[in-house]
């Protein structure tokens, strides 16, 4: 369940593919992708939508993902909703969303109930502590992987912005909304100014 780095945006959709899926097909396809999604639903979503069902070309998928990556919220949920609604309107979005979130949410809820009941058992406590340590390592690896393009480009400004957000949220523990209300306009202004400087 780790996020992937965003692919580059590619415009111009192409609509010469498989016929649009039904509501039930959307629900089933997204439920399958989601339940297979240990270590990243995105990989499975790409495989299902582009390779298996041919509902989108790779370019359209990248474009849709890029859009959902720059919008806030859980990316893959946004992608699913936008994707479903493209074929069957709002109902299609809801069917795909229900498929993606419903079945795993049931599983997670069962686990939550088990945890509430047995969470104090010493052996389970130790197992969860170990899993948690490994999972944090995986998250850090994703962060490093996403940082590499900035480091390779010697994007000092980007790295400074990154570090400021890290310190404000991770170390100073400031509230997310106030940090972002400063950081987003600042970062957009810097990026805009630098693009103009290059052009």
């Amino acid at each position: 369940m780790l996020p992937d780095s965003p692919p580059a945006a590619v415009p111009v959709p192409d609509l010469s593919k498989s016929p649009p899926p039904s509501l039930i097909a959307l629900f089933v396809a997204f439920a399958k992708m989601s339940l297979a999604g240990f270590g990243g639903v995105l990989v499975w979503a790409r495989r299902g939508i582009v390779d298996q069902h041919r509902w989108m070309t790779a370019e359209e998928f990248n474009e849709t993902f890029a859009l959902c990556h720059f919008l806030p919220g859980p990316n893959i949920v946004n992608l699913t909703f936008v994707f479903g609604s493209r074929f069957r309107g709002l109902l299609g979005g809801i069917a795909a969303f229900a498929g993606l979130v419903g079945p795993p949410a049931v599983i997670v809820t069962v686990l939550a109930a088990l945890y509430q009941r047995y969470g104090e058992i010493e052996a389970l406590r130790r197992i969860l502590a170990g899993v948690s340590c490994a999972a944090i390592g995986l998250l850090l690896a994703t962060v490093f992987r996403m940082m590499m393009p900035l480091i390779k480009r010697r994007d000092v400004v980007g790295l400074v912005v990154l570090l400021m957000v890290f310190v404000a949220i991770g170390v100073l523990r400031l509230p997310l909304p106030s940090v972002l209300l400063v950081a987003i306009p600042l970062s957009i202004a810097i990026t805009f100014a630098m693009r103009r400087g290059e052009a």
């Binding site: 369940m1 996020p3 999972a135 690896a141 957009i188």
Partner: protein
């Protein structure tokens, strides 16, 4: 009716607002979830929060389901449902309208600039997530070594992450993490 006395309302408000600031996905919002759930509202202890994160990583499905677990521990089934929908629906609807808007117009330049500007922010947020979680979980040298080992293996190899979670669980069960 205010959100201090009604836990369902508090969950709905908390996660609906939080989702709008979750740039880069659910993992970017983990420091904020920890701040609100542990420090402000005292829904969970530090240790429970780390456990909930571990369970969410062990389950299939999108990362965002960590809020289902938080919701359940606050207010049972209703809490799980409300937290999940509050975290997912507002931004899904926003994405729906934005994608329709972009499909009808040629604003190709601004999305690219905004996207480029948000990349460092989302990486910084995810780094903060790792740091906040590590501070709650990595309390022994062995625990730090497991985290570092998983980070290095995941960076350098294409090993399925499931194996590393399993290895962490086995080491923990064996009592090697403390």
């Amino acid at each position: 009716m205010n959100s201090d006395s009604n836990p369902i309302l508090a969950l709905a408000l908390t996660f609906a607002v939080m989702s709008l600031f979750a740039i880069g996905g659910a993992n970017s919002a983990i420091p904020e979830m920890h701040r609100v759930a542990v420090e402000v509202r005292h829904w969970l202890s530090d240790r429970q929060f780390a456990d909930v994160y571990a369970i969410s990583q062990l389950s299939p499905g999108p990362n965002v389901l960590i809020v289902t677990l938080i919701g359940y521990s606050v207010a049972g089934l209703a809490g799980a449902l409300v937290a999940t929908l509050a975290m997912c629906l507002p931004t899904a609807v926003l994405a729906y309208f934005v994608s329709r808007f972009l499909a009808r117009s040629s604003h190709a330049r601004w999305p690219a600039i905004i996207q480029a500007a948000l990349v460092p922010l989302s990486i910084g947020l995810m780094g903060a997530s790792g740091f906040v979680l590590a501070r709650t979980s990595d309390r022994t040298v062995a625990a730090v070594l497991v985290t570092a080992g998983a980070a290095v293996l995941a960076s350098l190899t294409r090993l399925n992450p499931g194996w590393m979670l399993l290895a962490g669980g086995v080491l923990g069960f064996a009592g090697l993490i403390g």
